[in-house]
């Protein structure tokens, strides 16, 4: 990256520019918020000020970091499992009408049941350890992985499959070398939704039974009516979620430079 290539330079510049825009935007939000609190003076219980939230964070940064890391761990575990399982299911659903009608339908039904309602049952069945939290993260993330992967795997140009079949490619090779790369843009759309929901799942799990993590921290803070602390956690969650999302997006840019949606708008050469 310490390349003197002008393309890299301009890329780096563009990335910096974009980050700058986001920072500016956030700064704007913070200022408006602070001003609103200053003017309307709501009780901190209802809406704390950004500076109040920041002070709260400074009281125990190590604590918040520890909680965030725990949540991050649960999220990633749930997400990875969801990706593996989801892609597997999608392949099955695309290849077998039977799978489509059974697994798919069950999945749809299951996803309609809110995890907050199921979570207590999970805890009753799986205990208060990390397993039910990972399971909830997995379940929340799974659905969008499957739906988008199914679309992607199905949306292949029939002639591409013919090309592979003409070389007597095995079903597995067609999947690996044609359907899957072709599905990747769609899969990544699913992953971007999934990483967000995995985080939500981890928190929901911590809500129901937990003694660590941001979800737990929110609950304790709520128990204390410490709204500033709740907001610290919420903001950390937002940051964590944003970071995870952009990691997935960076991965997408890295893996799919070939896809139209990733090319510079207006086509190359501009």
């Amino acid at each position: 990256m310490s390349d003197s290539n002008p393309l890299f330079a301009s890329r780096t510049f563009r990335a910096l520019h974009e980050v700058g825009m986001v920072v500016l935007l956030l700064a704007g939000v913070v200022v408006v918020w602070e001003a609103a609190v200053y003017v309307f003076k709501p009780a901190p219980l209802i809406l704390p000020s950004p500076s109040g939230i920041w002070d709260e964070f400074l009281l125990a940064p190590a604590y918040f970091l520890r909680m965030s890391l725990f949540t991050l761990y649960t999220t990633l575990a749930g997400f990875v499992l969801a990706v593996v399982l989801g892609l597997g299911l999608a392949v099955g659903i695309v290849h077998s009408k039977f799978m489509e009608r059974t697994v798919y339908t069950l999945l749809v039904a299951l996803n309609s049941v809110p995890k907050v309602a199921l979570a207590p049952l999970f805890v009753i069945w799986m205990g208060t350890g990390i397993e039910p939290k990972i399971a909830i993260a997995l379940m929340l993330a799974l659905f969008s992985v499957v739906i988008d992967a199914v679309l992607g795997l199905r949306s292949v140009d029939p002639d591409m499959v013919n090309l592979a079949r003409a070389s007597r490619a095995s079903s597995f090779d067609i999947l690996r070398k044609i359907r899957f790369p072709n599905a990747l843009p769609s899969v990544f759309a699913g992953l971007k939704v999934a990483i967000s929901f995995a985080l939500v799942g981890a928190i929901v799990g911590e809500f129901v039974a937990g003694s660590e993590g941001l979800g737990f921290a929110i609950l304790t803070a709520q128990g204390q009516f410490d709204t500033p602390r709740v907001f610290v956690c919420l903001i950390l969650l937002g940051l964590l979620g944003t970071a995870l999302f952009y990691v997935v997006e960076a991965l997408e840019r890295l893996l799919l430079p070939w896809h139209v949606s990733q090319r510079v708008p207006g086509g190359p050469g501009h």
Partner: protein, 279 residues
């Protein structure tokens, strides 16, 4: 000049044997008859071209031979085995270059080798050599969308040739090429055929190209798609471009043009046309 109204000579040694093939596409607006009563034998090592008006079912026939489209009726036997899915050792060039956007040109060419489990530096070297031979040297690392139409088509031809297949099916491989590059590649293809004696089924729009390359030319008509005539091209091999200036060559071309004209496919605002090749 030998003219067969149906097919044949030496069914015993036929590499591709098509008998009574009919193909009907289903569509929301009712069935579409694409092929009707197709009979054709292609001998091992023979070069057969298919000529016919747009929409007469040439691509459909080629896909049926490739085992990519199931036939509605009739039978296709390849190398003695009734066709069930794509046969062994076949290379295919599709009418649309079907290049994979996520692979570089070199990797696009290599994919056929990957499918049959061949890898390693020799295959890569062979792919690079093929690309260079087809005027794409230096473009190995580009992506398909960075290439012109003709360049894409040439890459697709390299892909089909990479694994040196016994049976080569080509659907208008030179359609997007300029006259000059086309002549070049005609010679290249003739040379490859001469060296390796592949069995080739070649769809083209160029009458002169068909005559120049083929042992036999199959003429089709549409509604429904059917074979109207098959002629043997008894011209000496190896062939040079100069052959096209000879009167025998001209006679074959004229014969084909006349046939199509008589079928009402070829028409003109001027009655004196109908001879010579000006595609």
């Amino acid at each position: 000049m030998n003219v067969h109204t149906a097919s044949m000579t030496g069914t015993a040694m036929a590499y591709v044997s098509i008998s009574g093939v009919r193909k009907t596409y289903g569509s929301p607006r009712g069935p579409v008859a694409a092929l009707e009563g197709i009979d054709l034998q292609v001998r091992e090592g023979e070069f057969v071209s298919i000529l016919g008006p747009s929409g007469c079912g040439k691509s459909t026939l080629l896909k049926c031979i490739a085992g990519l489209e199931p036939t509605t009726a009739g039978q296709i036997v390849i190398d003695g085995r009734p066709l069930k899915g794509p046969p062994h050792d076949m290379g295919m060039v599709f009418q649309r270059d079907v290049l994979l956007d996520w692979r570089t040109i070199l990797d696009n060419v290599l994919i056929t080798a990957e499918f049959i489990g061949r890898k390693g530096p020799e295959v890569r070297a062979r792919a690079s050599a093929l690309l260079a031979r087809f005027g794409l040297g230096g473009f190995e690392d580009r992506h398909p969308w960075e290439l012109s139409g003709g360049m894409r088509q040439r890459a697709a031809i390299c892909r089909a040739l990479l694994c040196d297949p016994k049976l080569l099916l080509m659907d208008e491989p030179f359609g997007a090429l300029d006259a000059m590059t086309r002549d070049d590649l005609n010679l290249e293809l003739a040379r490859i055929w001469q060296d390796t004696r592949k069995t080739v089924v070649f769809i083209t729009h160029g009458i002169s190209e068909a005559v120049f390359l083929s042992d036999r030319v199959v003429m089709m008509d549409r509604n429904p798609g059917r074979i109207v005539e098959i002629i043997d091209i008894d011209l000496p091999r190896p062939r040079h471009l100069a052959l096209r200036e000879t009167p025998e060559f001209g006679r074959y071309v004229a014969h084909i043009r006349h046939l199509f004209a008589s079928l009402g496919i070829l028409k003109d605002d001027d009655p004196e046309t109908g001879s010579g090749d000006h595609s």
